[in-house]
């Protein structure tokens, strides 16, 4: 049971949960963040303030607390809705909490990026007869992506490590797994988890650097 290869394979297996949570959060929170960004820039003020209030609440409370509220909230409030029972339910609840939390952070980065594009770019598109949608997707978006890549990279790297918070609602991610050994008096698996995160973040750093280089062909 305490063989090194067995421990490593169990750590690796539990790290896959971190990876899954990471990937799902990114896939859904990036587009959701864009929608929230548009909401927070809406010229219809009720929407704008509603969205900004929501972002304030999400950014203003710990992700750990949000995980607990989202997972236990429906049951405690006796809502009709409830999470599926067991491992699945815990994972889905964690994913939802992560997506909402990260979407809010991304939305502020997007908003900053979009607002930093000079008005002249919009006007050039307008006088060339483009629609608002065409201007956004054909002219603005890529310039925004180039500008926000460094701060988005920061968030993405933070997300890798935040996935460990999922253990608060009993998702068996890598730190929780290592903790089981710590409780039995074996400390090295906990230290070993650091290597998993380091390697993952290392690969991400390379990828982000490559992307930045890819977008280096033009200047905004």
């Amino acid at each position: 049971m305490n063989d090194i290869p067995v421990i490593i394979s169990r750590l690796t297996e539990s790290f896959l949960l971190n990876c899954r949570l990471f990937a799902l959060t990114l896939i859904f929170s990036l587009p959701l963040g864009l929608v929230i960004a548009f909401g927070s820039m809406s010229r219809f003020y009720p929407i704008r303030w509603l969205v900004r209030g929501f972002v304030w609440v999400i950014r203003g409370t710990p992700l750990m607390l949000q995980l607990i509220v989202i997972y236990f909230g429906p049951g405690l409030l006796s809502l009709a809705f409830s999470w599926p029972s067991g491992t699945n339910g815990r994972f889905i609840a964690a994913t939802v909490a992560f997506i909402i939390n990260y979407a809010c952070y991304f939305s502020e980065i997007f908003r900053g990026g979009i607002e930093s594009i000079p008005q002249g770019q919009y006007e050039a598109g307008q006088v060339l007869g483009m629609t608002k949608k065409q201007i956004f997707f054909n002219v603005i978006l890529l310039q925004v992506i180039k500008r926000i890549l460094p701060p988005v990279g920061n968030e993405v790297i933070t997300l890798v490590k935040d996935t460990a918070l999922a253990r608060i609602i009993s998702n068996k991610e890598i730190i929780m797994m290592a903790g089981e050994y710590t409780n039995k008096g074996l400390i090295w698996p906990l230290f070993a988890t650091g290597i998993y995160f380091l390697v993952f973040v290392g690969a991400l750093t390379l990828l982000l650097g490559w992307l930045e280089k890819k977008l280096g062909y033009f200047r905004t």
Binding site: P118, G120, Q121, E123, A124, G125, Q126, V127, L128, G129, M130, T131, Q134, N138, V139, L142, Q143, K146, Y217, F218, R219, T220
Partner: protein, 261 residues
Amino acid sequence: MPILEVRDIEKNFGTLKVLENISFSLEKGETLAIIGSSGSGKTTLLRCLNFLEKPDKGSIIVNDEVIFDAMDPTTQRESEVRKKRLHFGLVFQNFNLFPQYTVLKNVTLALELLAKERPDYKQNKKVILEEIQEKAKYLLSQVGLSDKLDYYPHMISGGQQQRVAIARALALEPDILCFDEPTSALDPELTGEVLKVIRGLAERNTTMIIVTHEMDFARDVSDRVIFMDDGVIVEQGPPEEVFGNPKEERTKQFLTRYNQK
């Protein structure tokens, strides 16, 4: 029949009156130069023509069609404004090229997007896109940039960027091409090459409105001159008159200051 008629345009920014009683007309093939000191409303006037600002009063008529009337909301519908804009082209002071696209793509982009709205686009996609490429290449050769097609905007000089912007505006074949101080962001060395291109357009009877601080150029190239001050047209007429024999005191003062430089 004038190609453009501007009637009684007025524009306020809050309580600040930027344009008042602006009326003039332009014949097809004419070049109109608008001069005046900074803050006199020249740029705002161009922006009104291009629907980048909405006048508070007045109307704009192109080819006998009322394309804007402050009193008539039906002329201001968002969906139609986009098409109406195409009567005008605008070359900006600071070029506003799209940095992520090559010189060629900067010129073709709007045409490609417009072509997508054509009913026969799907069937003839290849031919249509090829035509657009050819047209853009031709226009870029006209402004002397055939060797820069694959360059990105940051790789070429300001003068070259402005010439790309001119080709980009020409690509949509506007009835009236507007220039908003096209050489103000350029050093004197690069100013010449841009002015040469504009002069060429004037010789080929392109209908143009040029807001400029280049007095010698305005005098040379224009068929008519408008002098603006404080949001009103102080004087308008042929360049020989406005420059050679100004009637208004304010015009004289302005031109004297320029001649001293």
